[in-house]
């Protein structure tokens, strides 16, 4: 600010300019030595005047020199000092810098006019005053006697100490780094050395820590290290190096040891369902390239490994489904809690599908049996909601299975038993299960099953109609099964039914055929059951009539009825009189004479039935209950039934393969072997081996459905 009014026209003499400068010089000297000066406002005036009337260039030079001289002096005395440690050195340096900063700032304020009117226009050649001060500091202080080198070494050393756990003066570091930035020395002199040191430090640490700690602890260490670096950057180092520092830490602690980490600790964490630890692992791995990719590989292998343990061991068959459900549940929660990303969900699905199908057929069979167990009456384990939930979870397992036809065969067989023996817990559950299967596999899959339910309903109606019409007193229930809907049963028309019952059955038959004249009915006695009132005459003096009501299978009933007209019968005699197939008969006799409830006595005693055995009524028979069930034999599955069911499915598969081959060959007329095989794989819905296909192809060649080309044994031709 120029004051013009008070003293008249402006002063411009050389002497006066000299005077102005002298005063200013003194002022500068004050500032530079003490950091402040008394008469700021008059100094300002002088500065402005000198600027306006004097040589600006010269003034600038003079200021520059003052600062320079002063700096040199500072530097000299600084370098003479002895410092006990690095912190002290840095402290002194910081002190000098701060003072200098303040001084430069003040000087700049005073010569503000010069700055604005001259320096800025000369910006190509001249530094602004602040920058001038900074540069002077750099050249006269830092670049002298390796002050900068010492400074950086000290800072790095302190950081290293802090990393190792010591407490250091963080704000001091902050000041120094800020100084370096302002001196334009941060990037050029400090940063690279800092990054290298960081890299080296964490490289060593990784090896040491991995070696000495378990994975969960290591993960904790990594997390803490990252946090610490972030904190240090935030509080004192400034954020310009942040990305590189963090990347260095990540690379050294995680990126270079991904496989090592996973190999060492993944399985254990999974086994223990360590949600938090797995989540940490997942988070940390996601920070490095390919981290998640490798983790997914390990996840896949883990699921497959544990899954195979459940599925491949025949001794564990009894609990397979239960174990699988539990396993799936655990994996689901782990993935949800700790690996919430799409890739992991995909991996889970693939792994499950892979291991479940490694054991052909058994899982499908066991799942069907499991559902049967749940749908049977007497299953008091769960309430409605729990049961629905469990069945839904079973369906998820079912979805992974590739040979669904095995499941269908067993499910159908068990459903038939449930429906016919009245063993369903609730028709609603049955229907709900059916709906689930329909949603999963389509209506073709459930069409026959639905037919079975229809038969049951229709039979009920027919029965009430019959009872009305017939008015007989025999308590009869008939279910008419449509062939094709139900599993195949071996016909047993040779069985001799007691005449009384046979008459009743005949009457029903007449009634039915009157309604459906074109149809053919044949009785399936193996599926039938009845209640017999039996009275066992005791041989004791008491002569109390032991009366019991026995729930028995039709076969059992047929055998028992024989003893109404004979006291003792030999095994061959029973064969002849009943017409029951031998293996079945043996089982029947065993259930009557060798089990827990012995209504017949066998001579000689023993578990097996031989031709020399003879049977009679067990007159000493006692049981606490009046109504006794002996027909569980019908509901249990024999090993033959089991193998028969699977055999039928395999037979059926053969037919399907044949049909598919013929279909494809008929359409294309000529095909090479590999093309045919690949087309078949597309069409067939169950798992097949290449040998299975070859067998059928050979069979079809033998039966002249197709032939090989004369000159190319690899190509087939359809024979019309």
């Amino acid at each position: 600010m120029v004051s013009t009014q008070s003293t008249g026209p402006p002063v411009v003499t050389g002497d006066q300019l000299e005077e102005l400068w002298t005063r200013l010089q003194l002022g500068l000297s004050d500032i530079l030595s003490t950091g402040d000066t008394r008469n700021k406002s008059s100094l300002l005036e002088d500065a402005d005047n000198l600027c306006i009337h004097g040589d600006k260039q010269d003034l600038y030079k003079k200021i520059s020199r003052e600062i320079e001289d002063h700096m040199r002096g500072c530097s000299a005395s600084f370098c003479k000092l002895d410092f006990p440690d690095q912190t002290a050195f840095l402290r002194e340096l910081a002190d000098v810098w701060l003072k200098h900063s303040k001084q430069t700032y003040l000087i700049r304020n005073i010569f503000n006019y010069l700055e604005r009117r001259y320096v800025i226009s000369q910006h190509h050649q001249l530094l602004p005053l602040w920058e001038l001060g900074a540069q002077t500091f750099r050249t006269e202080m830092m670049c002298v006697q390796n002050v900068s080198g010492r400074c950086i070494d000290s800072v790095l050393a302190l950081i290293e100490q802090e990393r190792c756990g010591d407490v250091i003066d963080g704000s001091l570091i902050g000041t120094i780094t800020l100084m370096l930035r302002k001196l334009d020395m941060y990037r050029s002199d400090f940063e690279e050395a800092f990054l290298q040191q960081t890299n080296e430090y964490y490289r060593r640490q990784a090896v040491a820590q991995l070696h000495s700690t378990a994975v969960p602890e290591y993960l904790g260490y990594v997390t803490r290290s990252l946090e610490e670096e972030e904190r240090r950057l935030r509080l004192y180092l400034g954020s310009s190096s942040r990305d590189q520092v963090i990347k260095t830490v990540e690379t050294n602690l995680i990126g270079n040891h991904i496989e090592g980490l996973l190999e060492k600790g993944f399985d254990a964490m999974m086994d223990g369902s360590r949600f938090m630890e797995l989540q940490t692992l997942s988070t940390l791995l996601s920070r490095v390239p390919e981290g998640v990719y490798h983790m997914c590989l390990y996840l896949y292998d883990y699921i497959k490994k544990r899954g195979l343990e459940i599925v491949m061991n025949p001794e564990k068959d009894k609990t397979m489904v239960h174990d699988l459900l539990e396993f799936k549940c655990t994996i689901d929660s782990i993935i949800e809690e700790s690996f919430p990303n799409e890739d992991c969900v995909d991996v889970k699905k693939k792994a499950f599908e892979e291991f479940i199908n490694k054991r052909p057929n058994k899982p499908a069979e066991l799942i069907a049996k499991f559902i049967d167990g749940k749908l049977r009456s007497g299953n008091k384990e769960q309430n409605e909601e729990e049961l629905e939930d469990m069945l839904d979870r079973v369906m998820v397992l079912f979805r992974f299975i590739q040979g669904k036809d095995i499941f269908e065969a067993f499910y159908k067989k068990d459903l038939a038993k449930r429906l016919l023996m009245g063993k369903s817990a609730s028709i609603d559950f049955e229907k709900s299960m059916l709906a689930k299967l329909k949603r999963e596999c389509g209506s073709q899959f459930t069409f026959k099953l639905e037919g079975m339910f229809k038969d049951i309903d229709v039979s009920k109606d027919l029965m009430s109609g019959y009872k009305e019409k017939d008015g007989s007193t025999v308590d009869l229930g008939v279910t008419v099964l449509t062939t094709g809907y139900w599993p195949g049963y071996t016909p047993d028309t040779a069985v001799v039914i007691p005449s009384q019952i046979a008459k009743t059955l005949e009457r029903y038959k007449v009634y039915y055929l009157a309604k459906h004249s074109g149809r053919k009915l044949s009785w399936q006695h193996s599926l039938s059951f009845c209640t017999i009132r039996a009275s066992f005459n005791t041989t004791s003096e008491k002569k109390v009539d032991q009366r019991k009501e026995l729930s028995v299978s039709a076969y059992q009933g047929v055998v028992l009825f024989l003893f109404n007209s004979a006291t003792k019968l030999s095994y061959p005699q029973i064969i002849e009189a009943t017409g029951i197939e031998e293996e079945q008969l043996q089982r029947t006799l065993q259930s009557l004479a060798c089990g827990k409830v012995r209504v017949l006595r066998k001579t000689p005693q023993g578990k097996d039935i031989d031709t020399g055995d003879s049977f009679e009524v067990n007159t000493d028979f006692k049981h606490k209950l009046f109504k006794i069930k002996i027909n569980q034999v019908q509901t249990k599955e024999t090993t033959e039934e089991n193998t028969n069911t699977t055999e039928k499915v395999f037979q059926d598969r053969q037919y399907q393969i044949d049909a598919a081959i013929v279909r494809v060959m008929k359409a294309r007329k000529t095909m090479t072997h590999p093309v045919l095989v690949s087309e078949l794989y597309n069409q067939l819905k169950f798992p097949v081996k290449p040998t299975d296909l070859k067998k059928r192809i050979e069979s079809l060649i033998e039966r002249d459905y197709m032939e090989r080309l004369k000159d190319d044994i690899n190509t087939y031709h359809y024979v019309a």
């Binding site: 072997h673 590999p674 095989v677 067998k695 033998e702």
Partner: protein, 272 residues
């Protein structure tokens, strides 16, 4: 086992003569036929033979193979050996015409020549030759006397020299060896026949027979029979070019699986 024909571009007539001679030997034809066929097919011996065999009538240029064959003589010959009760020459225990016939023409019953002879005659039922088969067969062979037959019999191996001819012959032996009504060939008969017809043509013949003998298959299908020849002629001795994923019959797949470890152990023991 393939026979390598050398088809060089020939210019001189001497080499043409050589080719004609070779052709005649291979196809049992006359000179006129040979040179006609060769000239049509650019003097490529290989090709010419192939074409000839597929259509012999097309190329026949020699009148009745230079040799006159008397049909009546053939009929008389048949009558000499025929069964008293049927119009066949057979091995019936009483008469045994077939055996005497073979003895007279010096044909070893158990040799491959006997099979080739049956093939040339188109014999359908083992153990007997019908009048028709006898007559047409001998006409085709150009023989109407025992002496002519004797000399012809000694050259029978020529007839199967060319791979196409051999294949036809080999496939015939399946039909010949099996029971007339049956679809497939029993193991015993199969082994016996293989040992005769594949001798010297299948490096693993012995292994194959061992394998089959201990396998639980009781019969061989036509397809498997036929493909064994392809196996023998195209697959390397060390099985290196065998493709399990290919269209080979399962029995051959199983053979390879059985054979591989045996080959490896024998080569490794040979090396040590």
């Amino acid at each position: 086992m393939r026979m390598n024909f050398q088809s060089k571009k020939m210019s001189g007539s001497a080499s043409k003569d050589r080719m004609i001679a070779k052709f005649m030997q291979l196809t049992a034809t006359g000179e006129k036929t040979a040179s006609f066929c060769l000239s049509i097919h650019g003097w490529k011996l290989d090709e010419a033979c192939d074409y000839y065999f597929s259509n012999p009538e097309k190329y026949a240029r020699d009148h009745k193979q230079q040799i006159m064959v008397d049909r009546k003589k053939i009929q008389h010959l048949f009558d000499r050996y025929r069964d008293p009760s049927a119009d066949v020459v057979s091995v019936s225990s009483s008469h045994d015409g077939l055996l005497r016939f073979f003895q007279d023409i010096q044909l070893d019953v158990y040799s491959i020549n006997a099979l080739i002879f049956s093939w040339r005659l188109g014999v359908v039922v083992q153990g007997q030759i019908t009048r028709e088969e006898f007559t047409n067969g001998l006409m085709a062979l150009g023989c109407d006397s025992v002496d002519k037959l004797k000399s012809r019999v000694s050259q029978l191996d020529n007839d199967i020299r060319h791979p196409t001819k051999f294949k036809d012959f080999y496939q015939y032996t399946f039909t010949f060896a099996k029971d007339t009504g049956a679809k497939n060939l029993g193991i015993e008969d199969a082994l016996r026949t293989w040992k005769i017809v594949l001798a010297g043509r299948f490096s693993h013949l012995e292994d194959w027979c061992t394998f089959i003998a201990q396998h639980d298959r009781r019969s061989i299908t036509r397809d498997t029979w036929n493909l064994l020849l392809d196996f023998a002629s195209t697959i390397n001795s060390d099985l290196s070019n065998y493709d399990e994923e290919g269209a080979w019959p399962i029995l051959i797949d199983e053979f390879v699986g059985w054979l591989r470890p045996r080959i490896n152990t024998s080569t490794s023991s040979a090396m040590s």
